[in-house]
Amino acid sequence: MKFFSALLRSRNAVLGAFILSVFVAGAVLAPVVAPMAPTQTDLRGRLSPPSLSLTEIGKAPLGRDQLGRDVFSRILYGSRITLAVALASVVVGGIVGVGVGLYSGYRGGLPDQIIMRVVDVQLAFPLMLLALVVVAAVGPSIGNLIAVLALTSWTRYARIVRGEVLALKHREFILSAHTIGANPWRIAFQHILPNVLMPVIVVATLELARVIVLESSLSFLGIGVQPPYPSWGRMLAEGRSYISSAWWLATFPGLAIMLVVLSVNLLGDWLRDTLDPRQRERRQ
């Protein structure tokens, strides 16, 4: 309850939450809301312009694409793929990253050194290039896409979590747990993990926005979601060839990407401010 009233106090957060819930609702209700199946073509109606006006919503509110598919329906179904892929990869990356970070920070010593150098190396490597190389090697599919996106993001969690663990490790309550002979698993998961979750949630929100952009970029380059399934990046790429004659093909998916990333970022910023105690103190 306190959480929601805090949310309502921030105009940016409300805006972000509103935009994001519209897209989530669109994704969930896509089969009900969409006027056409996203892959259904109608060659005779190709490139018909948007029929959206102040007085009525036509059959193709955002126009038809180069194969006569409804752009609105494709954006709705595209949001399913974009959001699902982004969420899945953030969760997978998060679990791996938190696990590695906990181990590395708690164990210390040589394993910690090795893991952190691996993280350094991967952070120094351009993520886009890494994703391109991996997808080119294993072939494009949704599963591979999630794996690649998770691969590009686990390092951030690992770093943050390790730092927090190092700070917590020598606090009294951990030392006392040690003294009474608690098993290291119990200490890591029961005592340390709950205390590092806040920064993890903040990282996860910001990662979500980054991963959406990365997924769109990969699909734009043709190595993400394969046709005919709609993905915003792919729609943008296909629409680019028609930008001079049919602006709606690239414009709407581009807007969708922008709005979702904006909303996630607004929420992420607010979360960071709210959950970070130092920030909170400063505001009070």
Partner: protein
């Protein structure tokens, strides 16, 4: 004072150089939609990119002009001495850039190289009838075949000759030392090929351009913008919907000519589900509304192919066969007969960047197939990677979208692409293969036409692919040049002149 006169002199020289440059070095920049993979003439059959570039560097025996007629090149004349022997008279003055003569011995060395099984030359299947290359004298060469080969001179229009001595110590795939009108300056696969005219070239017409640059621009929209901003002088493979816009932007000439290339969806008939399932092959042919695709995506350009892998420009075309009608009900019926009453799922490979609107056409076909219950998993890939699977690895997907033509414009060459045993065929039709081999062994044109009629009928009863259409060759070029556009895929700088 002395300093000043030095400057004056320098300025004057520079000014002279500036004045002189435009008339000396005219540059022609050509956009290619797919990569030039290699420069070894024996190791490629891709006319639109590899062989077109190679034809600027090397000389064939005969050459096909923009009017699609054969013209003399290295050979000044040719004749059939008997049923199994073609005699070519060579020009005496053709030399490679290092002084090596391009004589009968060099011709023999090159053809023997292609015929060597270890070389694995893709074009070998079309020359395997050559039993012996006989050097009569330095300017006369006899090609002796094991059976009559009436279209051999046509076939030789895509065979180019390397310098034998130079080739021993160099890699002709990435280097070139030619006998043609141009020298290779730079070859950057995936980016550009830069050529410079030989100053003392006498073996053919003198090209109008001293510098020719081929730039690889796979993206359609980028190709158009490169033309519009003047980075390139001519492009082809323009989406028909863009032609009017380019024309309206001012100084450009646009148009379309019918192509000798036929588009289709290839089946891999050597593996399930197409292997030994003629009903399935027929079913898919009834499931695609080809005319709708031409009317919409191609804005009415292009024409349907009759039920055979030939069109009107080929010798041996069968005018009695008609295109498959669009009949989804019949397609479903045949699917049930093929053992798939509830439909099936097939992989569909789409090479990108090479065929006009390839991605769009493939998705349209995939949607139409889905309507009769055939679901497809589209896999888009770069053309080079796909051609490697198709040509070298022998494991092309169950379906793939491609277009083929054969430079000889003869049923013999074109139908060989479907002959059992040919690496491009992926098709087993014993009757068809027997017939085209039979046709190859007679010189009687009438009899050959009769046999090709039977062969194309056999193909039509059991098609190797979803027969689609001739795609139009669309083009656009800056009006500072004048390009004689041709309907086969060859591009030659000599077909381009400066507009006066």
């Amino acid at each position: 004072m002395r300093l000043r006169s030095f400057f004056n002199g320098a300025v004057a020289t520079a000014a002279l150089a500036c004045l002189a440059t435009p008339s000396l070095a005219e540059r022609l920049t050509v956009a290619l939609s797919a990569n030039v993979t290699l420069l070894d003439p024996a190791m490629t059959t891709t006319v639109g990119t590899d062989l077109s570039v190679i034809s600027h560097l090397y000389t064939p025996l005969v050459i096909r002009g923009p009017d699609l007629k054969l013209q003399p090149a290295l050979a000044s004349s040719w004749e059939a001495v008997d049923d199994n022997t073609w005699r070519f008279k060579l020009r005496p003055d053709v030399k490679f850039a290092n002084g090596e003569p391009l004589d009968a011995a060099a011709v023999k060395w090159n053809i023997d190289r292609i015929l060597d099984p270890n070389q694995k030359a893709p074009v070998r299947a079309w020359l395997s009838a050559i039993k012996d290359v006989r050097v009569v004298d330095p300017t006369t060469v006899d090609l002796v075949t094991s059976s009559p080969y009436p279209s051999l001179p046509d076939q030789m229009s895509m065979i180019f000759f390397l310098p034998p001595v130079w080739s021993k110590s160099h890699n002709p795939a990435i280097e070139a030392l030619g006998s043609g009108p141009y020298d290779l300056v730079e070859f950057k696969p995936g980016d550009r090929v830069v050529l410079k005219a030989k100053p003392n070239y006498t073996a053919g017409p003198k090209p109008a351009f001293d510098d020719v640059v081929f730039r690889v621009i796979p993206e359609d929209a980028s190709r158009i913008s490169a033309l519009l901003v003047g980075e390139v002088d001519l492009i082809s493979g323009v989406a028909p919907s863009e032609l009017a816009r380019i024309k309206n932007s001012g100084k450009f000439v646009v148009g379309a000519v019918p192509s000798t290339r036929m588009q289709f969806v290839k089946f891999n008939n050597l593996k399930a589900p197409f292997k030994d399932n003629p009903a399935l092959r027929l079913a898919l042919n009834y499931a695609v509304d080809k005319q709708a695709i031409l009317d919409t995506l191609f804005e009415g350009y292009g024409s349907l192919n009759a039920c055979q892998p030939l069109n009107e420009s080929y010798f041996g075309f069968n005018p009695d066969l008609k295109p498959f009608p669009y009949d989804p009900a019949k397609a479903k019926e045949l699917l049930a007969k093929a053992g798939y009453p509830n439909g099936l799922t097939i992989e569909f490979e789409v090479p990108l960047g090479r065929y006009l609107l390839g991605a769009e056409v493939s998705q349209a076909i995939a949607a139409q197939l889905e309507e009769v219950g055939v679901k497809t998993n589209l896999v888009e890939m770069e053309y080079g990677r796909w051609i490697d699977k198709f040509q070298n690895a022998g494991n092309v997907g169950s379906l793939s979208y491609l277009g083929q033509s054969w430079p000889t414009l003869n049923a013999d060459g074109m139908l060989s692409l479907f002959e059992t045993g040919n690496r491009y065929s992926y098709y087993e039709n014993a009757d068809f293969t027997r017939l085209i081999r039979e046709a190859r062994s007679t010189t009687d044109e009438k009899k050959r036409v009769e046999i090709y009629k039977k062969a194309t009928e056999s193909f039509c009863a059991d098609p190797a692919h979803i027969v689609l259409f001739n795609q139009p060759t669309t083009y656009a070029f800056a009006d500072r040049v004048k390009w004689t556009v041709r309907s086969d895929d060859w591009f030659r700088a000599v077909d381009v002149q400066l507009a006066k």
